[in-house]
C-alpha cells in the first residue's frame, strides 16, 4: 500500500496547487496574465518576464553544465586512473549535498563582485551569475546519470572499436558516447529539471528584476525567475488575494513544466528497460 502513496502525493500536490492557483485564470484576464509586466501592486500579473527569466537562466546553465558534465563523466568512466576516480566521485557527491542557500551566499559574496569587476557592470547580480551557480548545481545530476549511461555500454563495444585499430579516444567519441546517447539525453533532461526548479541560490544572485530578457545583453543584467518570485513574494501576500492566487498559478506552471521534463526523461529510461539493455 505504501508504494501507492507516491501516486497519491503527486495527485495531492497537483490538487492543492490547482485549488489555490486555478482562480488566477478566472480573476486575471489572459492578456494581463501572459503580458510583459509583473507589478502585482498595480494588478499587473504578466508572467512572461518570469517564464523567460527562468528559461534564460536554465538554458545558459545547461549550456555550461552539459559539455562539462559529459566530459567529466567520460573522464571518470573511461580515462581516469583509479586514484583520480576515488577523489572525483566523492567530491561530486559532496557538491550534490551542498545546500543551495550556501551556494547562493557564496555566489553573492564571491562570484557577483568578481563578475561586476571583470564585466565592469553596475551590478554583479545578473542572469549569468545565476546560470553559473545553477550549472554547478545541475552538474552532479548530469555527471552521475551520464556516467551510468556510459557504464551500461557493453565492454564488447569498446573491444570491437579498439580491435578495428581505432585509438581509445576515437572509440570513446565514435562508439561509446553515441551508444550512450539516450542516457545522456536523460541526463540533460534531469539536469534541466533540477536547474529550472532551483530557488534559493537563484533568488540570491540574479538580482530579481522582473524585466523581459529580450535584448542581447540580458545575460549581464538582473532577471527574475518563477521560483524566486514565489519564494520572495509568498511571505508578504494577503491570503486569498489575486496576487496570492497568481503565485500559486506560477507554481502550477512550474509543476507542469517539470512534470513534462521528467516524463520525457522517464520515458527514455523505460524505453531502454523494455529493450532489455541500456542502449
Amino acid at each position: 500500500m505504501l508504494g501507492f502513496s507516491a501516486i497519491g502525493f503527486v495527485l495531492l500536490i497537483f490538487f492543492f496547487l490547482l485549488r489555490e492557483g486555478l482562480p488566477t485564470f478566472f480573476e486575471v484576464p489572459p492578456g494581463n496574465l501572459f503580458g510583459t509586466r509583473w507589478y502585482p501592486t498595480f494588478d499587473l500579473f504578466g508572467t512572461m518576464p518570469l517564464i523567460l527569466g527562468s528559461a534564460l537562466v536554465t538554458v545558459t546553465a545547461i549550456a555550461i553544465a552539459l559539455p562539462l558534465g559529459v566530459a567529466t563523466a567520460v573522464f571518470v568512466r573511461e580515462v581516469a586512473p583509479d586514484w583520480a576516480r576515488e577523489i572525483l566521485k566523492p567530491m561530486i557527491e559532496v557538491l550534490a549535498g551542498i545546500p543551495s542557500v550556501v551556494l547562493g551566499f557564496l555566489g553573492m559574496t564571491l562570484v557577483a563582485p568578481l563578475l561586476r569587476k571583470t564585466l565592469d557592470a553596475p551590478t554583479g547580480l545578473t542572469a549569468l551569475t545565476g546560470a553559473l551557480i545553477l550549472a554547478y548545481m545541475a552538474l552532479p545530476t548530469i555527471i552521475s546519470v551520464a556516467e551510468d549511461a556510459l557504464d551500461a555500454v557493453p565492454k564488447s563495444y569498446r573491444d570491437a572499436g579498439l580491435a578495428m585499430g581505432a585509438t581509445q579516444w576515437q572509440t570513446i567519441w565514435r562508439v561509446v558516447v553515441p551508444a550512450a546517447r539516450s542516457g545522456i539525453v536523460t541526463a540533460l533532461m534531469l539536469g534541466m529539471g533540477r536547474a529550472i526548479g532551483e530557488t534559493m541560490a537563484v533568488m540570491m544572485v540574479t538580482g530579481n528584476a522582473a524585466r523581459m530578457p529580450l535584448s542581447l545583453d540580458s545575460l549581464f543584467r538582473p532577471v527574475r525567475t518563477m521560483t524566486a518570485t514565489i519564494a520572495a513574494e509568498m511571505g508578504e501576500v494577503a491570503q486569498g488575494s489575486t496576487h496570492y492566487h497568481a503565485l500559486f498559478g506560477i507554481g502550477v506552471i512550474l509543476f507542469l513544466l517539470t512534470f513534462i521534463i521528467n516524463l520525457a526523461a522517464a520515458s527514455a529510461i523505460f524505453k531502454k528497460r523494455r529493450r532489455g539493455g541500456l542502449r
Binding site: 562539462l68 573522464f75 571518470v76 557527491e93 551566499f105 585509438t167 521560483t227 509568498m234
Partner: protein, 281 residues
C-alpha cells in the same frame, strides 16, 4: 595531426574539465572554512541571537534544523522503506507499478519551492497545523520520499535471489524471509539512502519558507505546533534581509550548516563503502 597526438590532447582536455568541476567545490568549502572558522566559539553555537542577530549565537537555528530533520526522518523512513519493500519484493510489472515509478521520478523532480507551496496549502491551511514544525517536517518528508524509496529499493534488489529462495525452502514465509534475511542484508544500503535523503532535507530552505521558518525567534520551540528558526533560512535571512550584518557571522553560519551536511554525507558514504567491501555476496 597524428591521431595519437589527438588522443593525448583530448585526454588532457577531459582532465581539465574534471578540474573545472572539482576546483570550485574545493574553493567553496575552503572559503567557508577559512572565513567562518573565526566565528565558531562556544557562545556562537550555544547562545540565543542578540542585537538583531548581529551578535550572540545561532543555537535556536541549530536546534530547529535538528528537530526538522528528526521530524522528517520519523515521517519519511517508515513510508519510504515500506514503499521500497513493496516495489522491490512484492510489486509485479504491471501498469500500476509503472505508474508508481513514474510518480516517484516526478516527485523527485518537483521544484523545492513548489513543495513549499503545497505544504502551505495542505498542512498549514487545509489541515490547520499553522506554520509549525509539524507542517515543515511533513513537507520535507514528502520531498525526501523519492530519494529514500529509490535508494532503498536499489539496496533491496542488490540482495541475491538465492537468499529469498533458501529462506523459503526452510519453511519461512515470504514476510519472514524479507524481515529476517533480506532487510538485514540491505540495511547498510538503506541507511545510506536515508542519510542522503535527510541531508537534502536539512539543507533545504524553500520548502520551509512558508511552512515553519521563523525570521527571528530567540527561544526554543515548545511544541510540534511552534515555529522555529532553521539554519538554511537563517543564513538566507542574515545574508539578504539584514543590512550591516558582520560577514564573519554569515560565514560562521554557513560553516555550521556546511559542516552538518558534509559530515552526514561522509557518514553515508563511509557506511556504504565499508559494507560493500565486507559483504559476502
Amino acid at each position: 595531426m597524428n591521431r595519437h597526438v589527438v588522443q593525448r590532447l583530448g585526454f588532457v582536455l577531459l582532465s581539465l574539465a574534471a578540474l573545472v568541476v572539482v576546483v570550485p567545490i574545493l574553493l567553496v568549502i575552503g572559503t567557508v572554512v577559512v572565513r567562518g572558522v573565526g566565528a565558531i566559539q562556544w557562545e556562537f553555537l550555544s547562545a540565543m541571537p542578540r542585537d538583531g542577530m548581529k551578535a550572540g549565537g545561532i543555537f535556536p537555528a541549530i536546534v530547529g534544523t535538528l528537530l526538522l530533520t528528526l521530524g522528517t526522518a520519523l515521517a519519511a523512513i517508515p513510508v519510504g522503506v515500506g514503499g521500497a519493500i513493496y516495489l522491490a519484493e512484492y510489486a509485479r510489472d504491471t501498469w500500476l507499478t509503472r505508474a508508481i515509478r513514474l510518480a516517484i521520478i516526478n516527485l523527485a523532480g518537483i521544484p523545492s519551492v513548489v513543495y513549499g507551496l503545497f505544504g502551505f496549502g495542505l498542512f498549514v491551511l487545509f489541515l490547520q497545523f499553522g506554520t509549525s514544525i509539524l507542517a515543515g517536517s511533513l513537507t520535507l518528508a514528502i520531498m525526501t520520499l523519492p530519494i529514500i524509496i529509490s535508494t532503498a529499493e536499489e539496496a533491496l534488489r542488490a540482495v541475491p535471489t538465492e537468499f529469498r529462495t533458501v529462506s523459503a525452502s526452510l519453511g519461512g514465509t515470504r514476510w519472514q524471509g524479507i524481515r529476517y534475511i533480506v532487510l538485514p542484508q540491505a540495511l547498510p544500503g538503506i541507511i545510506t539512502g536515508v542519510i542522503l535523503g535527510l541531508l537534502r532535507a536539512a539543507g533545504e530552505t524553500a520548502p520551509i519558507l512558508f511552512t515553519v521558518a521563523a525570521f527571528y525567534l530567540p527561544r526554543l520551540p515548545q511544541s510540534l505546533f511552534d515555529q522555529t528558526m532553521a539554519l538554511p533560512y537563517h543564513l538566507y535571512v542574515i545574508s539578504t534581509q539584514v543590512p550591516g550584518m558582520p560577514l564573519q557571522v554569515q560565514y560562521g553560519t554557513a560553516l555550521v550548516l556546511l559542516a552538518l551536511v558534509v559530515s552526514m554525507n561522509v557518514i553515508a558514504t563511509t557506511i556504504r563503502s565499508y559494507f560493500r567491501r565486507r559483504r559476502q555476496w
